[in-house]
Amino acid sequence: MTVIDVNVEQDSTVEVSKGKNGLVRTGGAVAALVGVLAILPSVLSPFNLIFAAQILIYATVALSLQLLWGRAGQLSFGQAAFFGIGAYSYAIVGTRYDIGGWLSVGIAVAVPVLMAFVLGYFLFFGKVRDAYFSIVTLAFVLIANQVVISWRSVTGGDTGLTRVPGLVLPFGAFSIDFSTRNGRYYLAATVLLVGLLVLLWVRSSSFGLVLEAIRDDENRAAFLGYNTSWYLTAAFTLSAAIAGLAGGMFASVSTLAAPDMLDQFLSIQILTWVAIGGRNYLAGALVGTVIMRILSDQISSFLTDSWPLVVGLFFIIVVLAFPQGIVGELTRIKNRNVARLGGRRANVSPK
């Protein structure tokens, strides 16, 4: 990262996420998140702990969509496809071939990565972008869902695969058992942190910067010499890797793989979490997922069938009121206050 060594008055609307201050603040935010994650097992009931574990994994998928939609500007309706393919890959090798440990994690990532690379390569090098890209990804999740439901001998059809084994990861001489109740929660928390750290790296890297440039104006980036199709293919593949990891671990935590982990309804839900939280922010994906999952759960407990209507209405209201999402709105308010305070301070003590 280029360090610009000049003293300039801080502009009011700029997100200051770069440089030394940004690093300290990001580190602080991650440390706070780790703290909260560490406390949850001692305050939540066993039932709620598994619910929390599922939310953390859903938040990881939301983060993976934020990379593609917020940073690279390509809205995918296919996120649940890679999530579900990860879940089924893990479940199939676990239940049918008795494969576990690191290999099963690797397979849960590798299968969606391979599919995303092939699909992404042909889409992006075929100049498919924006709305057309979204439509193709929607078709992809519909097809994948149909395959999962029809291919009974392998996927278990409508009922899916049950009694999926939990995960035990060997580390040299000893191993960590992620199949216990608390273990499953810690697995989910680890998945979230791994996904978050990868995406924080992307945010600070020149790869991430070029993705933002492509989002803003792909032609300008290409005419500077950047092979934008490769960048988008890479973003799509990385996004699928994180979604697949999340899906595989979701199967492990929930001990099952079912068609509703791989359908357009889940894809659209992921999209609403990111939009409500704020698609331009990693924190937005986290906040949006937590709020929407808890809200959906609460509403569905008394509106068993019609809860999606209420959640959908809530989504429309939030997006109309705060087009930049909750985190976007909070950032705007904070920047405005900083600007006001900064101005006052400047008046009190002029240089």
Binding site: V8, V14, A213, A222, L224, Y226
Partner: protein, 252 residues
Amino acid sequence: MSAPSKTSPSLVLESVTVKFGGLTVLDDLSLEFGHSPISSLIGPNGAGKTTVFNTFSGIVEPTTGRLLLDGEDITGRSPIDIARAGVVRKFQVPTVFHGITVADNLKIAVDAPRERSLRQQEGSAQSWEPTDVAKQFGLMSKMNALASELSHGERQWLEIGMAFLAHPRFLLLDEPAAGLGPEESTHTADLIKNISEHCKTIVIEHDMKFIRELGGDVTVLHQGQLLRHGSMEEIESDQVVRDVYLGREANA
């Protein structure tokens, strides 16, 4: 592949014809740039000026004819490959990355991938850093601002600065003074003159005063063909040019 020569670089259209459907936009046109640090391309609307740039940057492939960079045939190469070979352009409408900071815009430009021969041929233009360009272009106080917060003029300068940072051998500037006030326009001409000491610069402009300020040689296109080539004084005193182009402006 020919090694990059130490002699003056050259960018050449060789008998290029470009047809869009039945319409001939460039008509057996041969042009050579590189002798003068600054060259201006003028001509009435529809003369084919922007099509010349589009051909140089690989957007438009010639129907017939060849495109040569330092003697090497680059006809049919993709815009990305041509940019990597060192032909970088600024668009007619200022085109910057609006959602990221000015500093990041410049960083992306200076980090742009280049052919190895161009990296090795480290001339004076190659050693420029984003801060040098920001100082030159008066963008230093805006480094942490989003590009979307810049004024129109600042955006023009940012895009010129970006194109300059991207290790160009040839810099193609399409209407760099469009929409600028007289003072901004003069400032822009000075900037381009400074730049042209480091890389060959080709400018499309309508503003005759701006081209006079730039100096350098002038190429006049008319209906896809070369009408005249010479210094600004020669061009301005040329009766044919006055008739097809300048006269119309004088009468207006």
